[in-house]
Symmetry: C2
Subunit: 265 residues, 2 copies
């Protein structure tokens, strides 16, 4: 039967995919994969190919965006195609267009979800999921924007946590560092003076969520801005109001300084 | 080596777990599992036991909460223990205490993430992740609260989408239905009259996210309130401002009426 299955690779390496996703890949007629929307630091294509017993065709951003995934759609008209995407297939909105195009051309589509960085970070931090407000991406300095600062301010105003994803160009191996992201926000503070992101603001920085050795470090920005977090991918949480259980988690698992106790509401 | 690994079962059935999670389970000295924090509709314990080749000890809410997971901690002092949890292990905050207790008793802990309903729903809907505000749970009528209405109002005020999880008691097989949830919100509207949740309000209802046959239905509340969504688990999204691409997704994949075109900003 011909169909196009979007399957999530999950996080970090070739074993982040679900058992179901791997099974569908094993029985596919063609297997495509993109690795540019997110970084999977320990992913190895050869190891994945031996795991699933299939040859995988790596697709570039150009093939997907400029050629509208033509090759994938053509293959899906002839047989069962699995298209593998880091994390969960549609958390990055890049591939929604491909799915819409497929359905318009009469190709049935299905999703096999994968672990997303969004829930992994929340889960790692021990902060309560229902207390997160809007998520924001902190861009590279050449795309400088005050939006991240404004989103953090807006969430804090309601006592909510802000998850900040740090921009990356996975193909070019460029990653905005946690130190750079903090420095940029502190610059905006100097201009806006709203007391939102100051050297004494608490934050939680996370590197390599989903790997065997994630780095989790809670602290005040004056300390985090020079901390060495190791390799990417990176993210940053600005907590809003914290329950003492959330602070307990940060002290136990994110090496938060004892001064965090005073932040409890 | 003795350690306690919290591993996510992901969604729906025994193949929702990641390949890595299954591998660690295969080599564990003891395997524990809870199935009460969420519903995995097609999960079968016997099938899971043959998949991992281990006997699994199912733990009740009482054992975990009243006895502080004593059995799990004792086992983890002697060997490698995997504790399996629906979705991602710490998205429900229930197990954070167990992890803190383990570390206090000198037991090393690790997390293997799983697919969470939170990202699956966003991914299925095609709505943009960074436009979601705070998430809220709609409680059973005997725990009636105006909070969900207020959260939807607060998010809408900033143009943001609201993800509503519908309360469940997985063990007792009790699930708040989408119809009940909508009816409750419409009741609050009658009292508050803020024009937030009216019969003409658009919403997206999702049943069985992560299964092979999820039901996705976008529409106006007057239509959704009587729609038959089939079996649980259920969730509901109240969109804020929608980009035309988001509306395209809802029309393509959630059977949204053409009137949704008029909602584009």
């Amino acid at each position: 039967m011909n169909e196009l299955i979007f399957a999530g690779l999950g996080l970090n390496d070739e074993k982040g995919i679900s058992v179901k996703g791997l099974e569908e890949t094993k029985t596919a007629d063609s297997v495509f994969m993109e690795l540019y929307t997110s970084l999977m630091p320990d992913f190895n294509l050869q190891r994945f190919e031996s795991l699933c017993g299939k040859k995988v065709k790596l697709v570039s951003r150009r093939e997907l965006e400029e050629e509208n995934g033509w090759g994938i759609l053509e293959a899906a008209k002839k047989g069962k195609v699995v298209f593998l995407v880091p994390g969960d297939p549609f958390i990055a909105t890049t591939h929604v267009t491909l799915r819409i195009d497929a359905e318009k051309q009469g190709i049935k589509t299905r999703i096999i979800h994968g672990t997303s960085i969004i829930s992994a970070i929340v889960s790692l931090s021990g902060l309560h999921n229902y207390k997160f407000g809007k998520t924001v991406t902190i861009p590279f300095p050449d795309n400088f924007s005050e939006t991240p600062y404004n989103v953090i301010a807006q969430n804090k105003n309601f006592g909510l946590h802000t998850l900040c994803l740090l921009d990356l160009k996975a193909n070019e191996k460029q990653f905005l560092s946690i130190n750079q992201a903090i420095a940029m926000l502190l610059e905006v503070e100097k201009k806006k003076k709203q007391d939102i992101v100051t050297p004494d603001t608490p934050a939680v920085a996370i590197a390599r969520a989903g790997s065997d050795k994630p780095t989790l470090k809670a602290g005040f920005l004056k300390d985090l801005v020079t901390f060495d977090f190791g390799k990417p991918p990176f993210s940053l949480i600005f907590p809003g109001e914290m329950h003492f259980m959330e602070i307990d988690s940060l002290i136990s698992f994110a090496d938060a300084p004892v001064e965090f106790r005073r932040l409890s509401i």
